[in-house]
């Protein structure tokens, strides 16, 4: 702790992460156990241990690579990396931070378009009704992602099994939910 006081304040992504979510990138010694256990590592442009390594360099070029990566959006928060990390580095929390930073700096990877569209549709749904309205979510997601034909056969089957409602449930506290969204939107 005291040693780091010698360093000048820097604005690298790693130091931002340390300040915001108390995850210290320099703790990583590159054993790769996170990447080895990550279920989506082979889909990622940078597996988790590589993200850690890029952070450690603290260069603007590599910080940029992370924020523009597909990896941060593919992370499913299954927590396997944290569960097995010998250094107990909270990669999932770090990924949450990186996703938010990537969005706020408008650096979202194009391939992650659908994933974000889904998340946005999800939040839109609860924003106005308080609960998830699954049919609404699917329709809104189709609108946002323009994937009109996806899952076209699923909906009728769901409806026939009573798993999809036509009318959303609206809770009493919707105004309050709206305010929660507003207050946390910064």
């Amino acid at each position: 702790m005291a040693h780091s006081e010698h360093h000048t304040e820097n604005n690298s992504l790693a130091s931002n992460i340390e300040k915001s979510v108390e995850v210290k990138a320099q703790k990583c010694y590159q054993c790769g156990k996170c990447s080895a256990g990550c279920p989506v590592a082979d889909e990622m442009d940078f597996p988790p241990s590589m993200v850690m390594r890029l952070l450690q360099t603290e260069t603007p070029e590599n910080d940029e690579k992370i924020l523009r990566s597909h990896s941060i959006w593919l992370c499913v928060t299954c927590e396997m990396c944290l569960s097995r990390c010998p250094m107990e580095i909270d990669i999932p929390s770090m990924m949450d931070f990186l996703r938010q930073k990537s969005r706020s700096e408008k650096k979202v990877n194009k391939k992650a378009k659908n994933i974000i569209a889904f998340h946005k549709s999800f939040l839109n749904s609860i924003r106005f009704t308080g609960r998830l309205y699954e049919l609404g979510l699917i329709l809104d997601y189709k609108r946002q992602s323009l994937n009109m034909t996806q899952d076209i056969s699923l909906a009728p089957k769901m409806i026939s099994r009573g798993k999809l409602h036509f009318i959303p449930t609206i809770i009493k506290g919707t105004a309050q939910i709206g305010r929660i969204f507003k207050k946390t939107s910064n």
Binding site: M80, K120, L123, R161
Partner: protein
């Protein structure tokens, strides 16, 4: 005895079967629930992916409502909701400043006093003690208990079972007569919230789990999470298409299996709503 229950959105929609089986079990064992009044969605994966504060505020509102209504114990059947609620309680306990800020956001007092039970904890506490006397149709099948991610991770926060090769669900299943298999995919991820946006990944990951269970001779996969269920059950056609297979192994909620074992009808526990036909009864 009265408990609070936070069903969560899935149980009112795509996981109606789970909901039905939980309520059927409660009824059979003379247990009564009080729903957390006017509950809202916990925010799930979407909230913590896009907005950390929102991901804490939504569960905090639920917990505050439970407290306000004197619910000392709430059962949360959905593993995803369970995870969000417990994580929120942990984060707010750790950081009193954050707790005050969130209390202000939700316009309610939050103290973090309600006890949160996942479905297995609920079964262990209230069902298991009276299970032997009610058991009429032992569940004589070989099953693969699938815990997924959110029931056991992050283990240090949830403090439930063990992170590798958990056992609690296996123990419950053995109590009703099942043989449980040891298989490594127990806590591998099914693809979770990528179901709609990246169906290909979900098909791949869920397919691996199903293959592992089938390969080791399981007759059924037992789950305790609506998201896992929908990925393994509702996504089965996608999985079979992705892997060019014809996996037929059914996926049951643990509450459904118990329901059958105590003699409830397949309809009563919602088995008819599954996509993959359940030939077990």
């Amino acid at each position: 005895m009265k408990f609070g229950i936070y069903p969560g959105c899935s149980l009112t929609g795509s996981a109606r079967d789970y909901n039905e089986s939980v309520f059927a079990l409660a009824e059979a064992f003379g247990l009564e629930f009080t729903q957390v009044p006017d509950w809202n969605c916990c925010g799930a994966t979407a909230a913590h992916n896009l907005n950390k504060e929102l991901s804490l505020a939504l569960p905090a509102r639920i917990l505050a409502l439970a407290e306000k209504n004197g619910l000392e114990e709430i059962i949360v059947p959905c593993a995803a909701c369970y995870s969000r609620l417990v994580v929120t309680r942990h984060e707010l306990k750790k950081d009193p400043e954050l707790k005050n800020r969130i209390s202000e956001v939700i316009e309610m007092d939050y103290r973090g006093t309600s006890k949160i039970l996942n479905v297995i904890e609920w079964i262990d506490k209230y069902i298991t003690p009276k299970l032997d006397e009610k058991l009429v149709k032992p569940f004589n099948y070989k099953v693969a208990c699938y815990y997924g991610c959110l029931l056991v991770r992050p283990n240090k926060v949830l403090g439930y079972d063990r992170a590798e090769d958990p056992q609690t669900m296996d123990i419950v299943m053995r109590k009703i007569g099942a043989e449980t298999i040891d298989y490594p995919s127990k806590t591998e991820c099914c693809g979770a919230g990528l179901s709609i946006s990246r169906t290909d990944i979900v098909s791949k990951l869920s397919g691996k789990i199903i293959e592992d269970a089938e390969h080791r001779g399981a007759d059924a996969i037992i789950v305790a999470c609506p998201m896992c269920h929908s990925n393994l059950d509702m996504r089965r056609p996608d999985i079979n298409k992705y892997w060019k297979t014809d996996f037929k192994i059914p996926v049951l909620f643990v509450t459904q299996a118990i329901g059958l074992a105590i003699g409830l009808s397949p309809e009563k526990v919602g088995l008819k709503r599954h996509f993959v036909e359940v030939k077990i009864s």
